[in-house]
Amino acid sequence: MTDIIVSVSGIKKRFGKMQALDGVEISIPSGVSGIIGPNGAGKTTLLRVLLGLIRADEGRASVLGLDSEMQSLEIRRRIGVLHERPIYPRFLTPLEYLKMISDLYWEHREPIELLKLVDLDKACDRKIKDLSAGMHQRLGIAQSLVGYPEIVFLDEPTSNLDVTGRNAVLQLIMDLYNNTGTSFVISSHILSELERICHNLVFIDGGKVIESGRLVEIFKKYASDRWRVLTSDSEVLYRLITSLSGFENIGITGVNTISFSNKGDINTIRHEIESIAKEHEIDVYDVSRSTSLEEVFKEVSRNESE
């Protein structure tokens, strides 16, 4: 679990006037890792640098100890990739396509076994053009696993799926990690998904890494004193809380939710909130630690901008 599979040091990349990557430094250990950031943060550019598809202006990147620029072919023999919105031959069946791809690897998994692995074996004779979006994505994961990869890179693997499809893909990634031991590096802007499956996280914004490390440690660092209140009137309660001492970084996070930072213990905080709410006839349904990655990301971004 502690081997470094991806190492990036001082990577800079500019497209015209836009600085896509600005001195990125990361070390990703084995396991399931997420690269998080808003659209245009530089996630896909970073993946393209790691795969040797583009050259960095400055810096060095390596995957499995291999230089991403000079040893790109060797890297691609040992990894699998699922790009965002991939294109496969529409008139082939998943089985035919996987057989074709298998021929490109020295050692490969049997296509039919792969289809079983991603639960696509029942659709193995259907044309790719007739597959649903979820099936298409599962085929994408299957093709990324053909050559017994040590790492699989997934770029926005659930971006065009509905809730059911997303859950299925996330469950599949977890099962594959548990059953095959393959490491995954997942780029996504959907934070709730990554917090379910990732051991490690890298936050990117504006082409810079603003935080990275193990998920539990990041939560401990940013979310241990972060709280969330479920209430009947978030706007009024927000104004009331701002007058209390010890409450910082208060924000309305939804019609019925407020979040804030407080270093006190849960009983004291709950008592203070409930008392002030009762005085103003506002209902408070729940006061709990905020452990969503979205909150953490906001906190990290706030710290970075400060």
Partner: protein, 273 residues
């Protein structure tokens, strides 16, 4: 020997993927339609004239048997004209379509992410571009060579075909290869299908115009249109030229294609995908 076998196997395997991935748009169907169209015109012409000839021959009113020679002469003239028209239109059609097709197979691959998908597998860029070009040349060359040959075989005696068959195939392949590697360069530099198509067609039309000029030097003709050079040779425009000079010019044309291809590969190896 084993290394060569592995290389050929690799090219064939990648060629299958390339055909499946890049030719998903109806390129093959379009070309089949063109072939079918020109073939149908030729076949109908032959059928109608044969029926007409048979009717005339069987009808004593026209005194057919005595005039058979004249009728055959008319048919032969019309057939030659239709062959020339079909060949010209077919060749022009294909060579204008070559840059368009290549724009759709390579430049479009940059745009729609097909190239990114291919480059996520263990394939070297050199191998990928080589296979793309080979598949493209084969797909284009087959109809470009077959249609004129079919037309010639329909209308002309077999010895006329045999005399220039080898040169015809070589010069056609060279011309298609020239257009293909030029299109590679355009595709790789622009990474945009529309630009590749427009610039490619303009380039082709410009070269066609230049090669039709009566004062065009033969060495330039060799570079821009090997098939035109061969046509000129075949009709006796270069009476002083001997075989080894022709061979030298064709080799020069091949070297030009190879040089363009190497430049294309060098650019492609550095291009951002």
């Amino acid at each position: 020997m084993k290394a060569n076998k592995n290389l050929i196997e690799g090219i064939v395997k990648l060629g299958r993927i390339e055909l499946a991935l890049s030719y998903r748009i109806p390129l093959i169907e379009s070309m089949a339609a063109i072939v079918a169209y020109t073939s149908c015109i030729s076949v109908f012409m032959v059928i109608f004239q044969t029926i007409g000839l048979n009717l005339v021959l069987s009808d004593t009113l026209y005194n057919g048997p005595e005039n058979v020679g004249a009728y055959q002469q008319i048919i032969s003239e019309r057939a030659t004209m239709s062959y020339a028209l079909a060949q010209t239109s077919c060749w022009t059609f294909f060579t204008i379509l070559v840059p368009l097709f290549f724009a759709f197979t390579l430049a479009r691959a940059f745009e729609d992410g097909t190239l990114r998908t291919l480059m996520s597998y263990p394939i070297s860029r050199t191998m990928l571009l080589t296979v793309k070009t080979l598949v493209f040349i084969i797909v284009i060359s087959i109809p470009v060579i077959l249609i004129p040959l079919l037309l010639i075989a329909t209308y002309l005696p077999s010895e006329a075909i045999v005399n220039y068959l080898g040169l015809f195939i070589i010069s056609t392949l060279l011309s298609v290869a020239q257009l293909s590697v030029t299109s590679i360069l355009l595709s790789v530099l622009s990474k945009d299908a529309a630009t590749t198509a427009v610039v490619g067609v303009l380039l082709w039309v410009g070269l066609s115009y230049l090669s039709s000029l009566p004062t065009i030097p033969i060495h330039f003709l060799m570079l821009c249109s090997p098939i035109k050079m061969l046509s000129n040779y075949a009709v006796g425009l270069y009476p002083e030229m001997i075989n080894w000079e022709l061979l030298f010019l064709l080799l020069g044309s091949l070297a030009f294609v190879a040089a363009l291809f190497i430049i294309g590969i060098r650019v492609f190896r550095r291009v951002e995908i």
